[in-house]
Symmetry: C2
Subunit: 501 residues, 2 copies
């Protein structure tokens, strides 16, 4: 009995220790970067300079057996020569030199290391497979290994950045990403910058010889900084363990997943990409459904979902109002809403009358979709429409689309020179935020841009600024109404299925 | 017997006459525009100025009972006062004045008229419905009516333009659009400008009181200038006739269709938009399948399909090569290809070896997907890869994706000021065209842009220029690999099902 209690305590302590180790990996005070050449465009040199550019506040110790200097700092000729202990290591030397470098970093105090080098099990050669075994052996002695064949970790709060991210954002947020693909990780980091998705931790783990999906899911489940978890999975090391970790995690936080390698050719490509075994489409779909994980098809859908989950309040969104013009767009939105399992209820008669009162006639409609008929219906009217539509108990959320590009025609008609001066996008962001505060229903903005001509770049600039103003004010923005409704419906479905606390 | 023969001849003559009438509508020598005010922002004034701006070469006669002048030209106080016969009329006066204006235009010689005014059957009121009946009565006396409640006709060749299109392109091409929605028509017109889709005829017919889907399909089927037909349908006036016209037309030319109003709310909105009855999703889907029409979900998918159909040679595309990097994108492309019914076959062993020879190592793969591993693999190598992959008899088409935004990192690393100078997009367009000529297999380009930050506008500019260079050289361009493969697969499916001549 006493023995059992001590055992349980041990497990708890170990878990806590593991958690603290990972926390230290994401916020290291000192890092050794092994494989930093004094010249050229190597990965090691690149990742060192990226940490300088992004403004990592801890200490960086570049290492290369040939020595030299970089950016005014001495390059140490060995890990042992660093005059300090280290918390973390980044390793970017040829594959056959990695195991000894990893062991040296472990001895120097590193609790974790990311290995950017490739040339391991993904090659399919006996040499590569043996080298990866050696890494695993070092890891078992007490260092957590991320990679090999990865782009590493990006953590905006601590300034840890991944390959090739000197210009990733430093603004922290609640979205985490676990990914077997480095390219997808850094792409998602860049997409987040303009979509308004802000990150807690992004981990590209490549071949995943040691630290990978299940352990990381358990860490992120406990991590108070992470609210939404995204994953790119090609294959998993232990299916049962992954299933358990995914189910437990998705019961507490939304987990959005891309499964790469569902086709025969995709699976073949995954094998040479990260030495992963793909698998049958239907099996994976069943797993995600049983776990209440949100499966998405690609990075765009993942971005859409991550944005919706991070900005919309928890809850079900069964019924939406659709506000905008012209008619075909409203019809497309209603068709898409139904397709994704949502409804577009008729507005209450008195609210219809009140809204119709302020709409241009003929051509408008206030039944829902609310067709404003004219793209120049101004922010004040939009505010009033949203506030009145919020009074309907059957409306859970507003899908507002605005065709800002039409102001270009107005610019031509008025003969003015600045499109920004006549497009009321700033007022629009203000009134939508007000309408949300007054009406207590979220507003989702859709701003399609059909004017992507080479000489219409100002429209693009306005849309980008509009996107920032809205997302900064807590309202998700999409280019396309289909994407907006798919994302909102996935939020609704998740909270409907998730058992209440 | 003789009687029967004369009857058949009559039908033939009538059809030929109808065809000529429609031809004259699309290329009128003189137009009356009824409802042109000397000041303000009315539709009539707008459409008059749009025809001046776009450079319509025929004569324009503005009409308004209050008279005055516009742009230096006298506004006639009545249709009768025009000192000339007219071929066509554009009517934009309040609904109750439309029937008499239409009759006056008919008497003045117009073979057709478009009615921009709304306030007819789409209002659902007895007055509106009666007014539309009156239009139909005038039409029966021998004038073809487009509308009411529409944006009119756009014909780049003749310079006829629709509302509010002063800046639509004058470059003619092989794509036609028939649409019940005016907004969607003009949006598609603008999208065509930068997607590289060029139009023969675009017709927004709104409520369609006279001329509509079936008759227009028969005209476009015969029209030598039209190669691909797009349609936006909310409801049809005669289901059986539409079915016959669609089946016959799709047996000769690809017909791409959006059916709006498939949901309950969408159908409700369609009723107030163009007085159309929607209908069950499954029935419509069956109709399109039986006719071998290409059903698409929205305007983006329609643009993708129209571009693919107008640039790809007729034929089946079962197997594709996927060329690009990084790994996750290749896997996503392979998964998408299979999802849309295409295959990504392993390349012939000798071609794999030849391609692997010129790829950076480690990290690349030449099996197919061909993972170039590094975004800076240059145009010369891309040319060589495409030419070699074309030698494989199992490859029908190449899907090439290029992550041009990565050159931004190179720009930072090199400290250069111009992204355009270091991004080899012009060379890329040249070598891809060469590879297509040498290898005799079409090349499709995918250029995603994950860098849409406010301060990364130069990347957007390069992508837009790249898009133009490729489409001008006959290669379709997509932002997203999923969209590319959906479009290519729809071309392949169409030609597979279409009976050979």
């Amino acid at each position: 009995m006493l023995g059992d209690e001590r055992k349980a305590e041990d497990v708890l302590v170990t878990t806590q220790k593991d958690f603290e180790k990972l926390d230290r990996i994401f916020s290291p005070r000192s890092i050794a970067i092994v494989g930093v050449s004094a010249e050229g465009f190597g990965f090691g040199r690149g990742i060192y300079l990226s940490h300088r550019t992004i403004g990592f506040e801890g200490k960086l110790y570049p290492v290369n057996k040939r020595g030299g200097s970089i950016d005014g700092q001495t390059i140490y000729t060995s890990v042992e020569a660093i005059p300090d202990t280290i918390d973390f290591a980044i390793i970017a030397v040829p594959a056959h030199l990695v195991p000894s470098a990893l062991e040296a970093c472990r001895k120097k105090g590193a609790v974790g290391a990311e290995i950017l080098s490739s040339g391991f099990s993904e090659t399919g050669t006996p040499e590569g497979i043996t080298l990866e075994e050696e890494l695993r052996a070092v890891a078992k002695r007490g260092i957590k290994v991320i990679g090999p064949n990865c782009f590493g970790i990006y953590c905006p709060k601590s300034g840890l950045t991944m390959l090739p991210g000197p210009d990733l954002s430093r603004k922290p947020g609640g979205v985490a990403l676990l990914s077997q693909s480095g390219g997808l990780s850094v792409d998602f980091g860049f997409i987040g910058q303009w979509r308004g998705i802000h990150f807690s931790k992004v981990v590209s783990f490549g071949n995943g010889c040691d630290l990978r999906e299940a352990e990381m899911l358990r860490y992120l489940r406990q991590d108070p900084e992470t609210k939404v978890i995204c994953m790119y999975v090609e294959g998993v090391s232990d299916g049962r363990d992954f299933f358990t970790a995914l189910r437990e995690t998705a019961a507490e936080k939304p987990v959005i997943v891309i499964k790469g390698g569902l086709s025969e050719a995709g699976s073949r490509a995954a094998a040479s990409h990260t030495a992963s075994l793909g698998g049958a489409r239907t099996i994976w779909e069943a797993v995600f459904k049983q776990c209440n994980a949100i499966q998405v098809a690609n990075l765009e859908e993942m971005s859409d979902a991550a944005l919706a989950f991070s900005l919309l309040p928890e809850g079900e969104y069964k019924n939406c109002s659709i506000v905008g013009g012209g008619g075909a767009l409203g019809i497309a939105a209603a068709d898409a809403a139904e397709f994704f399992g949502m409804a577009v209820p008729k507005l209450r008669a008195d609210l219809q009358a009140a809204i119709l009162d302020i709409l241009p006639k003929p051509g408008s409609s206030a039944i829902n979709p609310i067709d404003v008929a004219n793209p120049f219906v101004g922010p004040k009217q939009i505010r009033e429409i949203l506030v009145r539509a919020s009074e309907d108990a059957n409306v859970d959320i507003h899908i507002l689309f605005q065709l800002l590009y039409h102001y270009n025609s107005l610019k031509i008609a008025l003969g003015t020179s600045s499109l920004k001066d006549i497009t009321p996008y700033k007022e629009l962001a203000e009134v939508c935020r007000e309408a949300m505060d007054v009406g207590k229903k979220p507003v989702v903005l859709v701003i399609p841009n059909i004017r992507q001509d080479e000489d219409s770049i100002e429209i693009e600039e306005i849309n980008r600024e509009t996107r920032r103003l809205f997302t900064d004010a807590g309202m998700p923005v999409f280019d396309d109404v289909n994407n907006a409704l798919r994302a909102v419906a996935s939020v609704s479905r998740y909270y409907k299925r998730r058992p209440a606390d």
